[in-house]
């Protein structure tokens, strides 16, 4: 099956928190497709519905949240209105934002094996799978440690290993680096890049970090006010500082530099620091005197 995620005209509103509050539409008329092997970055301002969309893709919406659900979401060929999150867990893995709250087992290997135990996998097969998942995220040396003593970046990597252990067709990550320091965020990005090479699962990553999206995404979905405003190839979206700023996102610094110079008749399109350095040297007629950044 190639089309892992099919969202057709999804509308959703949460039940009001305080009775008597007006009902707010979290998602309106969302339609999108994600294919096997594709990574989709979902970006937008706070309250745009990014997290709600993640929850809709793993059937937590509407099963655990109630509310009013319209339209259809088909994940791995299953309609989420009739499939519970637990039943969907064989083909969907989810990583949430807060590393502290999503780890609960006594040891790292128990944490990674939990989803496999739910599927009733045999012990030897589970051991192999746990090894594979831990190896993918670079945490093989921490099998018997308690997750509580790990750093933020390590915790998120364990959460990722736990989510991919069942070899899901879809991996959903809701702002995986938002609570992390730069070193931890880098660990997570490297783990996710490694994942892209080793598996062909579809990935949906919610993030506010344009540089993370640039490193991982094939496509970018921009949301605002519960609606899809743009569905673009990643390189197009991330090189438009105006578009990103409109959606309350910080554009990558090089994209801003490119836009500044392009507006002054210099058609540059530098994607990495090295490209920019070479380009600057060329502009100043200082080619040949190379200096590594």
């Amino acid at each position: 099956m190639d089309r892992i995620v099919l969202v057709e005209n999804l509308n959703y509103s949460y039940p009001p928190l305080v009775p008597g509050d007006p009902v707010v539409d979290a998602l309106q008329g969302i339609s999108l497709t994600v294919r096997r092997g594709e990574t989709l970055a979902v970006m937008g301002p706070s309250g745009a519905g990014k997290s709600t969309l993640c929850l809709a893709l793993c059937a937590v919406v509407p099963h655990s949240t109630g509310g009013v659900f319209g339209g259809r979401v088909t994940i791995c060929g299953q309609d989420t209105r009739t499939t519970t999150p637990a039943h969907l867990s064989a083909c969907v893995g989810v990583v949430f934002q807060d590393p502290e709250s999503q780890l609960f087992s006594a040891t790292v290997e128990d944490e990674v094996a939990f989803g496999l135990e739910s599927q009733g996998m045999l012990r030897d097969d589970m051991r192999q799978r746990v090894d594979w998942a831990l190896g993918l995220v670079g945490m093989s040396d921490h099998r018997l440690r308690s997750p509580v003593v790990l750093s933020g970046g390590q915790k998120q990597r364990i959460a990722i290993a736990a989510a991919i252990a069942t070899r899901p067709d879809l991996l959903i990550l809701d702002e995986p680096t938002a609570s992390l320091d730069p070193a931890g965020a880098l660990e997570v990005v490297q783990a996710l890049e490694g994942l892209r090479h080793e598996t062909d699962c579809a990935q949906v990553v919610v993030t506010q970090d344009a540089e993370l999206a640039a490193a991982l995404a094939d496509r970018v979905l921009l949301l605002d006010g519960g609606r899809v405003t743009h569905d673009l190839p990643a390189h197009e979206a991330l090189r438009s500082p105006g578009l990103l700023t409109e959606h309350a996102l910080f554009p990558p610094p090089l994209a801003v530099l490119n836009a500044y110079l392009q507006a002054r008749s210099l058609p540059v399109d530098w994607r990495t620091v090295d490209e920019a350095v070479a380009g600057v040297r060329r502009l100043l007629g200082a080619e040949g005197t190379c200096r590594r950044s």
């Binding site: 929850l55 793993c58 937590v60 655990s64 519970t84 999150p85 637990a86 039943h87 969907l88 867990s89 064989a90 969907v92 893995g93 989810v94 949430f96 807060d98 502290e100 709250s101 999503q102 609960f104 087992s105 006594a106 040891t107 290997e109 128990d110 094996a113 939990f114 989803g115 496999l116 135990e117 739910s118 599927q119 009733g120 996998m121 045999l122 012990r123 589970m126 051991r127 746990v130 308690s146 509580v148 003593v149 736990a162 989510a163 069942t166």
Partner: protein, 267 residues
Amino acid sequence: MNGVDLFVPGDSWLHRADPRLKLGLALLGTVLLFAYSNVWVQAALLALLVGSLAGCGIPRSRLLEIARLMLPIATMIPLLWPVFYQAGPHWFTVVGIRVTGWAVAQGFATAFRIVGLAYLSAAVLLTTDMRALLRALVRLGVPFEAALAVTIGLSYVPRIRRTYEQVTEAQMARGFDLGAGGFLSRARARVPILVASLVSTFRGADILARTLECRGFGLTDQPRSALYDIQWRRADTVLATVALLLVTAALLGRLVLGFGVHPLHLL
């Protein structure tokens, strides 16, 4: 603060014993503690219990922590007992209350018993990690969902304590004076901290619930497997037999001979 939960890693006979055996021993220990009313027997049982734990590598600081927790109640009971029980040979009188040797003995016996019960419950958690406890509960027939709830709940205790400490700091930084005023105003001062701690904990619990669901918690299509399992060994059978024999002997002594019934005299 190093304790990630109550568990202290070690390699003693108690650590290696099957957790089901440990739960059984705790139950037998409880029976023993309630069987006797004699102050010397209770003191001996308590000393034996604490000594065994120390011998198993539980650090003194941990043992003292438990004692400190029980200290208020352990001092109140012997002090108040003579007020309510005045049988036996008169010792002395204080503030019009007739204090007898029997009353003091009973008071201390009860105090030792309560402290002993605290150490008994701690003993299981100090020497058993959560993954072993979880398997033990499941193998004993507890439904997985309930067993997981118990073990996650236990491991959340230090987390909740940490949240409470962080919230206390945050509130103190707002000018909150926790130490001022009488008991009532200080208790009332704790309310915002409790509220903020509870709300934080509930938010985390919500995310945990979703994570569990998304990892297949509650699936009944196939029986749940386990990566880690406990093994009942021959040593456990030996220990269980010895324990049962000892307890039977002790109970016979108490029921037939009346050993340890009287608060002060052994027979």
